[in-house]
């Protein structure tokens, strides 16, 4: 029996698509507090303003992340949502849950929270929506002791690292993304659980350029698997594709009416660097021009494979905010060896170089990509001790001025700034 009249929300139950209003009403049958979510949302629709308040003293002892405080600004009217905090649970690497683990988490949330979840948040955590302050410590105890899971990151912390399923299932994996993700999660526990930075910082690990976790679009530090040598090629299999004996894209589009496979149209003409061509019935690739996008490999997986010298490209500075506009990451390190034997020391060195600089020069609430944009790529590259290469440049320069540093010019130069300023005021 509904506790509040919700005529506007009821409209959202009409039509063939799933409705969160229907889900909430179903949930309210066992968690009556959920009626107050509907009631408050209806009021927000009527008042055209949110009735949620964020923030405050919310968390579990010793942690400065993982819980996002949320309160109702009309608690007398809707006591069920007076406190409605969000709990972020760190997801396992590659999001491999057992059904037993999922049932355990749901039982826990039924006991301490509203039972409502968001699977998953954009960082990858499992989001549990709606609990009271006094439930946080008992929930945290059960979560860590019974389910052996931990809270994720929030606020100006290192956010819960996330990765693709990597070598566990994918033949394209160029490094063990799950192991690197797990290793860095353990290595940076303090940064995940306690505020450390000017603003949030996200790691994402994709084991190949197909980038299944969208690292290049959504993480401050994207580690994307790649290779250094030539694409491995089986010319006999190329011929089978051309003859139509092997389905393109491993049969992913076989139900569509695409016509016969056309290697020129579907592979060669779509190569972003135009580094492929046919010589007779042989496919040729100028690997020095290839940017490892993997399109050709995806289309002809039995004929082409990543090279043998594998590692990763590191791209820095992506963000996907609602207000200020999305930004892709910038490729900074074209190739780095990902070595389990050295406990990923090479990757850790890069991370800490970025952090040391960003913590110093980044403004409060400024993502590292925004700091890079404000300070400029040349300065960022010198901070990272990376030599600029043509691939760092997006397009030929349109600005005719070239600024040289004295140490970049053989012999340098001598300049009396005081004398110069007499004629040219700053």
């Amino acid at each position: 029996m509904a506790k509040h009249d919700t005529p506007m929300l009821d409209e959202l139950e009409k039509g063939p698509w799933p409705s969160f209003v229907t889900d909430l009403k179903r949930q309210a049958e066992t968690h009556p507090d959920c009626w107050d979510i509907l009631g408050q949302l209806e009021l927000s629709y009527r008042d055209k303003i949110t009735h949620w308040k964020h923030g405050g003293i919310v968390g579990v002892f010793g942690y400065g992340g993982g819980i996002v405080g949320r309160y109702s600004d009309v608690p007398k009217q809707f006591p069920g949502v007076e406190h409605f905090h969000t709990v972020r649970i760190a997801q396992p690497s590659g999001m491999y849950y057992s059904s037993k683990n999922l049932r355990g988490l749901m039982d826990l949330w039924d006991k301490y929270g509203s039972g409502m979840t968001n699977m998953h948040g954009s960082t990858g955590d499992m989001i549990l929506l709606g609990t009271r302050t006094e439930n946080l410590e008992p929930l945290f105890w059960d979560l860590t002791h019974d389910l052996k899971q931990d809270l994720g990151g929030s606020g100006s912390n290192l956010r819960t690292p996330s990765c693709c399923l990597g070598e566990s299932r994918c033949e394209w994996a160029c490094y063990d993304a799950q192991d690197l993700c797990h290793h860095l999660t353990m290595h940076y526990q303090d940064e995940i659980h306690r505020p450390a930075f000017p603003y949030k910082f996200k790691f994402k690990f994709s084991a190949c350029a197909n980038d299944c976790v969208a690292a290049i679009a959504r993480s401050d530090f994207a580690v994307i698997g790649t290779w250094k040598d030539d694409i491995q090629m089986d010319q006999a299999a190329v011929k089978e594709y051309i003859a139509g004996n092997y389905p393109s894209n491993a049969g992913a589009h076989k139900d569509g009416d695409w016509g016969a496979f056309d290697i020129k149209k579907e592979v060669i003409d779509l190569c972003p660097t135009e580094c492929m061509w046919m010589e007779g019935d042989e496919l040729k690739i100028d690997n020095s021009e290839c940017n490892r996008c993997m399109h050709c490999i995806n289309v002809m997986p039995r004929a082409l494979r990543p090279g043998k010298e594998k590692g990763a490209t590191i791209c820095i500075g992506a963000k996907a905010p609602i207000l200020d506009g999305a930004q892709f990451a910038t490729m900074i390190i074209p190739f780095i060896k990902i070595s389990k034997e050295s406990e990923y020391e090479e990757v850790i060195d890069v991370i800490e170089k970025i952090w040391d600089w960003w913590m110093e020069v980044g403004k409060n609430r400024e993502r590292v990509g925004e700091t890079m944009q404000r300070i400029g790529l040349p300065t960022f590259l010198s901070v990272m001790e990376v030599e600029p290469i043509p691939q760092h440049v997006k397009e030929p320069r349109s600005n005719p001025y070239v600024f040289w540093k004295e140490e970049e010019i053989p012999g340098g130069w001598e300049r009396d700034v005081v004398e110069f300023r007499k004629k040219h005021a700053a």
């Binding site: 308040k53 964020h54 923030g55 405050g56 003293i57 919310v58 968390g59 010793g62 942690y63 400065g64 992340g65 819980i67 996002v68 405080g69 949320r70 309160y71 302050t133 929030s154 606020g155 100006s156 912390n157 303090d190 306690r194 505020p195 450390a196 930075f197 000017p198 603003y199 949030k200 952090w355 040391d356 913590m359 110093e360 409060n364 609430r365």
Partner: protein, 81 residues
């Protein structure tokens, strides 16, 4: 001469006491000892939290530091802002 940990802690507590707003970003503490790296300042701040001298305060999107007494004055014991 470099400041000792105790001196930095004292400077951070003084900063948290006198700052116009009770909630401070970690960056606000950097000047308490400009010779230390930001990550060292962060570690000292987090030690002060584990001792209960400072506390975390969440704005929802950013976690800040504060003296518990100043937050209680501002928000009351319930911690509802």
């Amino acid at each position: 001469m470099a400041m000792s940990i105790e001196e930095v802690e004292a400077a951070m507590i003084a900063k948290a006491t006198k700052a116009p707003k009770p909630q401070l970003y970690i960056k606000d503490f950097y000047k308490c000892d400009p010779d230390r790296k930001p990550r060292e300042i962060k570690n000292i701040a987090n030690k002060l939290v584990s001792k209960g001298t400072l506390m975390f305060w969440s704005s929802g999107s950013t976690t800040m530091y504060a003296l518990p007494s100043r937050i209680k004055d501002e928000e009351g014991d319930e911690g509802i802002n």
